[in-house]
Amino acid sequence: MTTVDVPELCLVVLVGISGSGKSTFAARHFARTEVISSDFCRGLVADDENDQAATADAFDVLNYIAGKRLAASRLTVIDATNIQPAARKPLVALAREHDVLPVAIVLDVPERVCLERNRARTDRQFGAQVISRQHDQLRRGLRGLEKEGFRRVHVLRSADDIDSVPVVRTKLFNDLRDRTGPFDAIGDVHGCLDELKALLSLLGYELRHDGEGRAVGARHPQGRTAVFLGDLVDRGPDTPGVLRLAMGMVRDGDALAVPGNHESKLLRALRGRKVQVSHGLAESLEQLAGQDAEFRADVGSFIDGLVSHYVLDGGKLVVAHAGLTEKLQGRASGRVRSFCLYGETTGETDEFGLPVRYPWAADYRGRAMVLYGHTPVPVPEWVNGTLCLDTGCVFGGKLTALRYPERELAAVPAARVYYQPARPFPVNAAAAAGRRDPDLLDLTDVTGKRVLQTGYLSRVTVNEENAAAALEVMSRFAIDPRWLIYLPPTMSPVATSAEPGLLEHPAQAFGAFAADGVTSVVCEEKHMGSRAVALVCRDPQVALARFGAPGGATGAVWTRTGRPFFPPALTEDFLGRLRAAATRAGLFDELDSGWLLFDAELLPWSAKAEELLRSQYASVGAAAARALPAAVGALEQAAGSGLEVAGLLAKTRSRAANAEAFCAAYRRYCWPVDGLAGLRFAPFQLLASEGANHAARRHDWHLALADRLADADLELIARTGRIYADPADSASVAAATAWWERLTGEGGEGMVVKPAASLVQGKRGPVQPGLKVRGREYLRIIYGPDYTEQENLDRLRSRSLGHKRSLALREYALGLESLDRVAAAEPLWRIHECVFAVLALESEPVDPRL
């Protein structure tokens, strides 16, 4: 024996009698953690590696560990005697359960050698009879190993062999992760040669013909690779022509091909097996009968050599005829092959007598894109990162290809209906789209403790109890997740100021950004309203095609917890105005997008929070405005009669003034609104449009767009006041500080200071995307009317911002990530996962005054 080949992922079962050197062999060729020995497991459960009474428990443990390893795609070696078929059977079953190949390596050492080695052992002594019996059993079972299910059997017959033979790990046939494309995946051709040639030309391939003018190959000048997704044959007019072209391309390295169920059946027919000649096989056989025997033999070996599926481009792309679940990707078993060829069925049949297919794609949560065919659809539709490219060419539909990684579709229509399907093929795409189910979200997409990877912070953890709170709010109050593609992050205030009478001052914001090396900041006026996110579609068609138009709406406007801002009719009125303004401002055209996502503030605060304003703020004001003058009156009387109440009186008068200032502060947030009249919308970022996450773009870009929007509807849309500053330049800082003083002196809420460049990477992830600097009077609403009293201020200054800052960054990272996923048209569950996490984080206990 020259080498022992083992696939990179497989279950290696060592077979050999006691003393045959299994453990030594395993240690030489495999990593320590790859080998699980039965002796070791005996020790684990019974404190004695030789306790034969513990064998059953030991094998339970062994099976469990091996199962975990295989599930995680790790090669695993079983070091046990495994000489009886009964011992090997559960291991073969285990390999099958995890869809990996079982490989046997038999160490068939002469009995004499084993006896010697056994005698040398001190821990365990088997009698010669035992060794002899084991040897007999081993020999008897050897020939049956393949039949038992081992896909490869290596028998090493001498001690020399065992000591010297190299073990070589080989890639699985389906592992083409090193092929990075670009690819053009082509759906079911079914003998439609004209359409295939037309499609290849459309994709830019140059066809090559033989002397008889038959297409025998095609090459793309830029070196692209075509991928045939199976079912090249049957039903259509020229199966041999299609095969000739596809086989030529595969042979020349211009194409890859995976088998379809029709190829599989054709092969059986060609090999003379008894198959039911239906579903268009008859046409193929008839057409192939007209070809020479050599060609038919080529066809046979071509189909025979096809690999069930391929994993391509570093694992980012999987191609299989009927699709493939994540669990089965890159694995090898009868089950994998069967899924690739036929998909999964529910065991039921529909009214046309055809099997009902299990919608595996709806459950798909894998990271790899899966391209497949098999089930004719009127238009390819992305479902959780999977796409079916069989558009029923042979039934009069189209032949479709997807350019990868561009994700662009290319299609040619069928010249005619070549074959009548058993189930009517829906050619009316619009009707089919209207029936589309909402994307399925699974509870396991959001609940429990979760760790999310974002492109901005590597691990964001959501705790279980926060996810539980978010689940309730998301389910009971939030809008449809198809609209809810983003939730705004919370924002931290500046570090506490030591200025007399103030808790917050711009100096700390400029100082913080200067320390982070930010050279330019923008100070944006903080509007006196409620945070609102608005998604507006250009028209109902876009709303339907891109978002499924939940609720028949043309967009949505939502709050920080995903609740609708307005009732449905008013939402549409609002969206109508916003759409008109965006159209006038030319935003849809300029960004070449059918929809726009805005981050904004909706004013007045009372429009949304009137209930809270009345029950909390106005009530405090009403109570204070009565109680304090009454107390002042009583104290004045007491003072008049000579009691020593001067200190108390002065303090109470000061509190009465605070109460008036408090009322003045909240009243600025209230004005009457009737429908849209009185409402102001102040956008400050255009977060995303089709294919693009704009959130990390410079703020001047955002503000310029926002200004144009405001110019287009001066009544509804408010501008955001701003001033740019260099945090390291004292004159610039002084000007911005004066601006803040004027703003807050006039009763303004304050400002938000942001890096002008928006996303700025610091040493450990992004720097704070913004710091709010709130005005003295506004903070009365937050910290209470009397917070400005010296004794209160002194205590309030010791506030800890750490948790709030960390929260702000984590939510910021999640928000950017969700927009990236929206831009990449990722599956809904991937976007929802981020949005849900932001909501969950918002339920973390943080000082609510920050």
Partner: protein
């Protein structure tokens, strides 16, 4: 916050300044006390022979209260605990201070003027700002039976915004001839009752003390139930749940999110709740028996009333009580005493948090799914997802109940067009429910039957409508 007590001397009788003896506080001095909420000051704005007014001024230290004893701000407190009316309005804080500062007076003991302490004397009490939930009328109803003449003048919420109307406060004046000790005990017990707010800083034993203080007169007070219920309603913890924090993020009151379980006594019953709820459960149990279901999930189990009955019935081998609200599940767990059930009983029951807008594999393949008064809590645009998850879970039987909107007309307390519960997103007529049931059944391969639950009215139907969906035989290979 301020409270004054005034007494008047009868001509030729004891001097009004003897009030100082009764209160054990010298009218000539200003006295200050430290109380848990801050500082209490007692002084006399007026102290003449004819008329004597004692004032209790409580300065609430909001900053200190939130910081707690160790000066640390606990994480998870709510903004409402910080900016609220406690420093200005008479509440449990004032009641607690009253009891602390006038403890001896409240007990009726006065060694200097024992006969005066035992006598009914003319008294005038003024509480300039009293939160009074239930309106000014309720103040009269509570104080009048105790011998007071009551004037309660509503205070406007914000005079610059007349449209907002009155606030929840009244300016309360009480007049009467009573023993001072009794007067103080009335105030001590009833001020927090009228306030009926969250007693943020009241520990449970303080509540017990309050109820004990009313021992002499509470027993026969006609509003005794209301008084005790209002105490019990606010025995909740100090800190807000995670979900309440989310409400705060969204500028709404915590209760608007955290409302899956009704607060006992907090709201008037919208319908004769107990009997109808029982009738619904009986109807559902009958249908489950008729369908031969054994593995059953109660989706939206609320407080677990149905789950408890399912568990008592041995027909049901597996009971899943599911709700989206963690609070509902906590209540159910307590109600079922899950931790004390025998192991075999425990094994039959699973409590899970789930959401009908997400698919949950734990609900797949059961015999029956039950949604009692659940769908009307779901926003109509989200119903399609719920339908898909419920009817796509493969149950043989699905039972759905929902209010019959037509029947609302017969509820006198409901204004025309109003719904039975604040959280109802819709209520359907019989025709609407039937149309929904027909569509859902057709889309998901079920047949359905509609039944009525509760007393039936010829014109309006019955209060609850129920649909039983039975899966159609599917062609099996």
């Amino acid at each position: 916050m301020l409270l004054t007590v005034t007494t008047f001397a009868e001509p030729g009788g004891w001097p009004a300044t003897d009030l100082g003896f009764l209160l054990h506080k010298n009218p000539a001095r200003v006295q200050s006390f430290e109380v848990s909420a801050g500082a209490a000051h007692v002084f006399y704005p007026v102290a003449t022979q004819a008329r004597c007014t004692a004032a209790l001024l409580l300065e609430v230290d909001q900053v200190g209260l939130v910081r707690g004893s160790r000066g640390q701000v606990p994480e998870g407190f709510s903004l409402g605990q910080y900016v609220n009316d406690r420093p200005y309005a008479a509440s449990s804080l004032l009641a607690v201070a009253l009891a602390r500062v006038f403890r001896t007076a409240m007990s009726g003991r006065c060694d200097a003027r024992p006969e005066l302490a035992a006598a009914a004397i003319p008294l005038q009490v003024h509480v300039p700002v009293l939160p009074c939930r239930g309106g000014a009328q309720l103040a009269a109803e509570l104080f009048e039976p105790l011998g007071w003449q009551v004037s309660a003048e509503p205070i406007p919420l914000d005079e610059t915004v007349p449209a907002w109307g009155d606030s929840r406060y009244v300016d309360l004046r009480l007049n009467g001839e009573l023993r001072l000790a009794d007067a103080l005990s009335h105030l001590y017990v009833l001020l927090p009752v009228l306030d009926d707010a969250k007693h943020y800083w009241v520990s449970p034993d303080e509540v017990d003390k309050l109820i004990r203080a009313g021992g002499g007169w509470l027993a026969w007070h006609h509003a005794r139930d209301l008084i005790t219920r209002r105490y019990l309603a606010h025995r909740s913890g100090l800190f807000k749940s995670a979900i309440a924090r989310l409400a705060e993020v969204d500028d709404t009151e915590p209760e608007s999110f955290d409302n899956a379980i009704p607060v006992p006594g907090a709201e008037p019953e919208a319908e004769p709740r107990v009997p109808l709820a029982r009738l619904r459960r009986m109807a559902v149990l009958d249908e489950l028996h008729a369908a031969g279901a054994s593995r059953v999930a109660d989706l939206g189990c609320g407080e677990g009333a149905l789950a408890a009955e399912l568990l008592e019935d041995k027909t049901f081998a597996e009971v899943i009580a599911a709700d989206v609200s963690s609070r509902a599940l906590e209540v159910t767990e307590r109600r079922l005493r899950l931790d004390r059930l025998p192991e075999r009983q425990q094994a039959r029951l699973k409590l899970i948090q789930t959401s009908l807008t997400y698919r949950d594999q734990r609900l797949a393949g059961l015999d029956a799914l039950v949604l009692v008064e659940v769908i009307e809590h779901i926003d109509p645009p989200r119903l399609s997802a719920v339908e898909r998850n419920v009817f796509g879970a493969g149950a043989a039987t699905v039972i759905v109940t929902t209010p019959n909107a037509e029947y609302n007309e017969s509820y006198e307390f409901l204004p025309a067009g109003a719904m039975r519960h604040r959280d109802h997103r819709f209520e359907w007529t019989r025709a609407e429910f039937a149309a929904w049931a027909a569509r859902v059944a057709a889309e998901h391969g079920y047949e359905y039957r509609i039944a009525a639950v509760g007393a039936s009215d010829l014109r309006l139907g019955s209060p609850t409508q129920l649909a039983v969906f039975t899966v159609l035989e599917r062609t099996s290979q």
